[in-house]
Each structure stands twice: as structure tokens, then as C-alpha cells.
Amino acid sequence: MEKLQQNMNPIPVRTWKWLGVNDTVLEADIPAIAGYSKQPVTEGSEKGVTITDIRLHRETVQFMEKKMDSGVSEAMRDFVKKNQNSGYFIEIEEGKKIGTPIILQYDLDEENPTLVDDHFILAHENSEVTIIINYTSSCTKNGFHSGVTKVLAQRGAVVHLIKVQMMADQDTHVDAISAIIDESGQIDFTLVELGALQTITSCKTKLVGKNSTGTIHSLYFGDQNRKIDMNYVQTHQGRESLSSIEARGVLLDHSQKVFKGTLDFIKGSSGSKGKEEEYTVLLSPTVRNRSIPLMLCGEDAVEGQHAVSTGKMDENKLFYLMSRGLSDVEAKKLIIEAEFQPILNKIPVTELRDTISTYLRRRLNHV
């Protein structure tokens, strides 16, 4: 385990060693992984979708994986292979537009405190789908989730993958996503990291095809002693590919956050555009907030821009709301909720949005 616990989240070049962010150390001990016996897929799926146990598709998956760099360290990859206790192969037929979001719900509890999931989403040409994977936990001690999700959007396919993490305060969450987008395909990620004591996530997309589009919208909320490490990479290979990374979040108490966002323009990706933006609201002086935006240009004819900003709560906005009768806490809650709204609005399921809002409100009660 020694090897896995270090270097969980490497960034593409080791330029940043001096900042101490290149190697993310997993702090909890990795528990023995037992079975996960609950059924995460609750509803039957529409025509055009098949959802089957990934273990039945070893060969297909292995073949596909050869094309993809999973974006995680080998140690992590081996760990998931060896310990996997859940996972689905989700396939969308060519040309099928799936209207209803597919939902996988993982809920850790005392009987199922460990989850190692491995998913593969294959969207055939010109298909469209929204998939939601939600992680919650009622573990009272040290729930553990670690997993890998791979997505392949073939020519013209559009995939929206939403991952929401609302695990319990002592839990560990290590999540790696890697994706490939073929010509004119699009993958949008909405990543919501709200719970767990330590969160280490990565999301790496390769925009392989011409005119491919990849977006990442991420939302995080750190309070108490939470540690959040996010590593997002958009690698442009195809010509005229478009990418964006947008992260926003709120930090308070003694929480810590590292955000690494990389736009990587490989030679040959001419005419591509990438953009990254990060905005953090800092609510206490004791938080630790680090951002490492990175742009790698192996190609000249590209456009990249990044903006990182942090803010305190705007005193005048707070005054305005308080002049309308809202207490300090109510005013701050309202501003934070407002801050989160644009990203939450990307979740097309009202019940889940409401669950998240309620969860957030409860957490915000001590702001």
C-alpha cells in the first residue's frame, strides 16, 4: 500500500515540486476492501442503453483502455483492478438520445463501508446521455471510496457525467476520471465535492478528435478539517478542439484545498481554445488555499486563458442583505448558495438538486 498512498494525483509535468503539490498523500489507512452488496442502479433504463456488470466486459474494456491513459498512477490502477467490488459498463447505442438521466446511487453504511468502483461509459457515434453517480455515506467511522470512471465519446456523441460526493465527515474519497473525445464529440463533467474528510480527485480528458469539446464544472465546499485535492487536465490533441475548466468553492475553518488545472495543447492541436477559471470564497483566515493553473503549449496556434481569484465575502453585499433583515449567517448562507447555484443548476434532476441544497444548508448552519 505504501506506493499507492503517495503520488495519487500526479500532474503532467513536475514543475511544481517546490509548491509541494505534485504528490498528494492519502492520509487515512486504506482499509481491507469487503464486498459492496447494495444495488446502485435503481431504475430500468431506456431503450438504447445497456447497463451491465463491468466484469462481464473485461475484453472490450481492456481493448478500449489501451487507447486511454487512465490518468492515475499505476499503483492506483492496480489497486482498483484488484479490489473492485462494484462497477458498470454503460453503453449507449449509436444515434440514441437518452432523455432520462441514468443514476447510480452509492450509499456506504456500516455493512458496506468500503467501495471500489470501476465504470466504463461508451457512447457510440451521435448518441447522447446524462449519467449521474452519487456517493453518500452514513458511516460513523472511516468510510472509504476509491474508483475509476472512464468515458469514451465517439464521433458526435454528447455525454454529461455528473458526480456528486456527499460522504460522511470521516470518510475518504479517491476518484479518478479519464475520458476520450472523438471528432465533434463532447463530454461535460459536473463534479460536486462536498463531503469526506479527504478528497482526492482527478479528471483528465483527451480531446482527440477534431472539433471535440470538453468541459469541467466543479464545485467544492471545505469546512472543519476537510482536505480537497483536485487535479483537472484537458489535453488538446485534435484540431479546433474546445475545452474549459471552471471550479468554484468555499473554504472555511481549517479546511485545505489544492486545485490543479492544466490545459495541455499538444502539437497538432492548432486552432484549439481552452479556458480555465477558478474562484474561491475564503471565509476564515485559517484555511489553506492553493491553486496551480498550468498551460502547456506544444502548439503555437492555440488560445488559452486562465483566471484564478479568491474573494472574501463582499462586505457591501453582506450589508445590503443585512439591511433587509438577514442575520450575518443567513446573509452568508444566501451568498454561498447563490455562488453554487450556477453549477448545481446543471444537475437535471430536481430531487437530487434539492437533496444537495438541504445538505448544504445543514452544513452551512455553523458558518
Binding site: 457591501n316 445590503y320 439591511s323 433587509r324 433583515g325 442575520s327 450575518d328
Partner: protein, 259 residues
């Protein structure tokens, strides 16, 4: 006898170490309409921000009482819940929060109970009609992408919905065209009754046309330099502030005062 609502005595106040108000007295009774005029930078906004409790403005001497109680130690939201309202000269934009959501949250906070949704919606609809605000604005984010005039109308909408005892309007008419001023003015008239009071900061008379103004105060050199009735407004409009014997705020020491 009229009931006293606001009583300010000997108020000295500073912002970022600079003294702006230098011994200001002002009393407002229920049922009254007061107007404050004064040159730019004379401290009009400072005064109303102080009454509302903006943390940036510091009281160095004097007192502010509302309904007989000193409120200088109260937080802004406590003052709001006591019935003080400020229509901002520059209303803040709050992205992500709709006009309706803010109003309902505010109303819950001020009344201390959960407002009934249907009754609230009806009241909101009526107020918006009075102010000729399109009802789509209820679901727009507070002041985001609003024109100057729309922001000011939104302030008056909040005033009407929250129904304060003391409404302070800081240049609510500035930057509005004639029709918009008339609409705002009718909203204010609609709101006004014998139990509440209004303090209007303005440079114009248009907003006052539908109201019976009781007192006009000239704020200069950190004090109320002169108090008169509505006729003072036309005097100022004809002759400016300088003839009153005060000086513009930046012209140095004050030698002579009368009032």
C-alpha cells in the same frame, strides 16, 4: 403630540479616519416626510448608512435613537427588524438570488414568521403592478443586468413589501427619467401613512410632487445647516448651496454658520 421615531443628537462620525459628520442633530416623528439636500460629498449617504449600521462608518460621538432606544450598538439586521429601511444609492447585485427569493427571505426575517406563499405572491404582484415592474423580474437575479432605473424601482419594491417604519431613500430618483420618477413617487405615496416616516435624499423636486413634505434640511459641513419647509427646495434650486454661507466640503475650514 407626534410620536418620536428617530432622534439623532450631536452625531460625529468618520469613515477611514476622516471625520464626515461633525455634530449633527435630526429628529423625525411618525407621519412625517423629511428631505435632506446638500452638495455632493457632504455626507448624506454617510448619514443614512450610519443609521442603517454600515460597519465601515464609525460613530465617534453622539447618539442615534429609534423609538426611544439607542440603536448604535445594534447590528444592521436588528435595525432592519426594528423597522428601518434604506433604499441604496447604489444597490448591490446579488447573482444567483432571485428578487422573489430575497424578498421572501427578508420578509420572513423581518416579521419573524414564515410568510404565507399565496398571500405573499399576491402582495408582490400588486406592488410590482404599482411600480410597473414586469412580473418576469420576480425570477431575475437581484439587480443583475438591471438598468439604473430598474435597480431603484427594485429598491422601492422592497420597501413596499417590507413595510418599514422609517424608510430612507438615498437619491432613489437620481438617473431616472421623468416617467420612472413619477412611478417611484407614486410607490412612495402608496407606502406613506400616519404610522411611518420617510427620509428622502434628493437633488430634485419631481419625486416630492405627490408627497407633503414637512421639513427640508440642508446638510453641509457635517451638520444640518438649515431646516425649513418645502419652500427651501426652490430656494436651493435657484441659488445653490453656497449662498447659505456654508462651504463646499473640500474648501477648508468653516468660518461662519447660521441656521
Amino acid at each position: 403630540m407626534a410620536e418620536k421615531l428617530l432622534a439623532i443628537h450631536g452625531l460625529h462620525a468618520a469613515v477611514e479616519g476622516k471625520e464626515i459628520l461633525k455634530g449633527l442633530d435630526l429628529e423625525i416623528n411618525k407621519g412625517e416626510v423629511h428631505v435632506i439636500m446638500g452638495p455632493n460629498g457632504s455626507g448624506k449617504s454617510t448619514l443614512v448608512n450610519l443609521i442603517m449600521g454600515h460597519p465601515k462608518y464609525e460613530i465617534t460621538a453622539g447618539s442615534i435613537a429609534f423609538e426611544g432606544e439607542d440603536i448604535t450598538a445594534l447590528k444592521t439586521y436588528e435595525r432592519a427588524r426594528n423597522g428601518i429601511f434604506l433604499s441604496f444609492q447604489n444597490p448591490e447585485e446579488i447573482p444567483g438570488i432571485t428578487v422573489e427569493h430575497l424578498l421572501r427571505t427578508a420578509k420572513n426575517a423581518i416579521t419573524g414568521e414564515n410568510v404565507k406563499i399565496m398571500a405573499f405572491k399576491k402582495e408582490l404582484k400588486q406592488a410590482m403592478e404599482t411600480l410597473k415592474i414586469d412580473n418576469t423580474y420576480a425570477s431575475r437575479h437581484v439587480n443583475v443586468g438591471f438598468s439604473g432605473g430598474e435597480k431603484k424601482r427594485n429598491e422601492i419594491l422592497q420597501m413596499m413589501m417590507l413595510n418599514p417604519q422609517l424608510a430612507m431613500l438615498d437619491e432613489t430618483d437620481s438617473g431616472l427619467d421623468i416617467d420612472a420618477v413619477r412611478i417611484v413617487s407614486s410607490g412612495v405615496k402608496h407606502f406613506k401613512n400616519e404610522q411611518n416616516a420617510i427620509l428622502i435624499i434628493t437633488h430634485n423636486t419631481k419625486i416630492l410632487e405627490q408627497l407633503d413634505v414637512d421639513y427640508v434640511h440642508i446638510l453641509m459641513n457635517g451638520k444640518i445647516l438649515q431646516t425649513g419647509d418645502a419652500s427651501l427646495i426652490s430656494q436651493i434650486n435657484e441659488n445653490g448651496f453656497l449662498h447659505l454661507g456654508g462651504e463646499t466640503p473640500d474648501s477648508g475650514e468653516v468660518n461662519m454658520l447660521h441656521g
